[in-house]
């Protein structure tokens, strides 16, 4: 009486079915592969880099730049760079490996301009040995909150150091990373004591992500730019 919707001849031989199942399985595998591939690769510059151990102690050299290199997926984003030795070879990296329970001397070359803090309280340094840091060689405890360009903060260690920005009147600002030391910059150095081994996050507190609400989107919310980890080993 009724014509069946799915006639016996409609879908057929086992071979055809195998092809369908295999095709679907391949598709699913590709999807899963894409997924995993994506999740493992989307953090540019998340490569880990270790601090340099010298006779005078462990040294960590960092640079904050107003914009990543042009080949970066986000060339307009602010970011941190790191160098292994003082060979001016800057790598885009925001995971730093430090030795446990020891003093680490951190030197940050700050190439970015001034943005200002949303909460001025953070303009006072905390958690550094001696309670102060050196701004261009001068011992400092607080900076003008409006002059802050970034904060290097490791909340779990209580470390928070304000990084002053280069003035708006700077003659020779650096456009894109890597920035040579010949361009305008501020040099901030301080010493911290690392705790026991573990993974500690660091972040910035200055709303430095241009164009995002409250300056806290984009690079401020991406590990590999203004966020990263301290791996204490």
């Amino acid at each position: 009486m009724y014509k069946p919707c799915r006639g016996e001849a409609g879908v057929s031989a086992p071979g055809k079915r195998v092809i369908w199942v295999a095709g679907t399985a391949v598709l699913v595998c590709v999807l899963i592969g894409l997924y995993i591939g994506f999740y493992l690769t989307t953090s540019p510059g998340d490569a880990s880099a270790s601090a340099v151990r010298t006779p005078v102690g462990t040294q960590l050299y960092l640079a904050t730049v107003a914009a990543s290199e042009l080949s970066d997926p986000h060339p307009t984003w602010v970011s941190y760079y790191q160098t292994d030795a003082r060979d001016q070879n800057w790598h885009h990296a925001t995971t730093y490996e430090l030795p446990r329970n020891s003093l680490v001397h951190v030197t940050i070359y700050q190439f970015d301009g001034q943005s200002g803090l949303r909460n001025p309280f953070i303009a006072q340094a905390t958690g550094v040995i001696g309670g102060s840091f050196e701004l261009n060689g001068k011992p400092t405890r607080t900076i003008d909150p409006d002059a802050a360009s970034h904060i290097f903060a490791i909340p779990q260690m209580g470390v928070s150091v304000p990084l002053a920005g280069i003035p708006d009147s700077a003659k020779n600002p650096c456009d894109n990373a890597p920035c040579p030391l010949s361009t305008d910059h501020e040099t901030i150095s301080f010493t911290i004591r690392t705790p026991g081994p573990g993974l500690y996050r660091w972040q910035c507190f200055v709303p430095c992500a241009a164009g995002y609400i409250d300056g806290f989107g984009g690079p401020m919310q991406s590990v590999g730019y203004m966020d990263g980890f301290i791996k204490v080993v």
Partner: protein, 278 residues
């Protein structure tokens, strides 16, 4: 006759199991349920949870016993033949009683919850105009919680507006938290204190807690606020009043350099949209 017989048996099993399990749940399990009795409010939450557990145990048992009994006793013993059960389509009396009983339970629960909430505020954020206020004869200690991505900072208007990076509170004192945010929505959850209040930008969210003895407590952010939400935690402490005074003096000295840069104390802050150099 048969039905009455079955029903009586279900009733009996339910009464026996409820008599066994309800006291176990209320007196053994429930008091151990966090957040503990560190403050008046957290102790109240424990009590509240115990009441809810005590009420829900017999209710859950009623359904479970009924189903277990039916599934065992009324299972089909001759699966080959398709035989129908009795064509019973309802019973007005049972339905009416069900409605009455569940309504009474629900209304009394709502009444109890309201009374508990109006009693001491239950430690929850109540917005700028709290409906459950503490005794006005004892001025509470005001503490402002300023959340931002991804850190809680604290400000004490009673101590010259000093801002601190960590939180300590005096014991045996009514605390008035003013929770606000500088950017996105956070939630200030002081777990052992029994306090949870969302930090919303441009809003002043007030929560009360009456501390008792000294204790350490954990602070978490309980509302997804971005990449470091999972790391937005801190430790705080309730300490003896003298110790607290010493601590706050120490903070005033320590953060004196930045004090002059802080904005005047206010219940909300609207930092300017940031200019961006370079």
């Amino acid at each position: 006759m048969n039905e009455v017989h079955h029903f009586r048996r279900v009733l009996l099993i339910w009464v026996v199991s409820s008599v066994i399990f309800t006291p176990l749940v209320v007196f053994v399990l429930a008091p151990g349920i966090p957040p503990g009795d560190g403050t008046v409010q957290s102790a109240g939450q424990v009590t509240d949870n115990a009441v809810l557990f005590g009420l829900s145990t017999p209710i859950a048992l009623a359904v479970l016993v009924f189903f277990a009994y039916s599934l065992i006793v009324f299972r089909e013993r001759q699966p080959e033949a398709v035989l129908d059960g009795p064509p019973v389509r309802g019973h007005a009396g049972i339905q009416l009683w069900w409605i009455v009983v569940t309504s009474v339970i629900v209304l009394s629960l709502a009444g109890y919850g309201t009374a508990r909430m109006l009693d001491d505020g239950a430690g929850g954020g109540q917005g700028p105009n709290p409906i459950a206020k503490p005794d006005p004869s004892q001025p509470p200690l005001q503490v402002q919680v300023i959340a931002q991505q991804w850190k809680f900072l604290f400000r004490f208007p009673g101590y010259g507006g000093v801002e601190t990076a960590h939180l300590e509170l005096p014991s045996n004192r009514m605390i008035e938290f003013h929770v606000t945010s500088l950017d996105v929505i956070h939630s200030f959850w002081a777990y052992q204190l029994g306090v949870k209040a969302d930090a919303t930008p441009g809003a002043d969210n007030i929560a009360y807690v009456q501390t008792k003895k000294p204790l350490g407590f954990d602070i978490h952010c309980a509302e997804l606020c971005g990449v470091w939400h999972g790391y937005m935690f801190d430790k705080g402490a309730v300490v003896a009043p003298t110790q607290f005074t010493a601590w706050i003096r120490q903070q005033q000295v320590r953060f004196a350099p930045i004090r002059k840069s802080l904005p005047p104390y206010s219940t909300t802050y609207f930092p300017e949209p940031q200019k961006r150099a370079g």
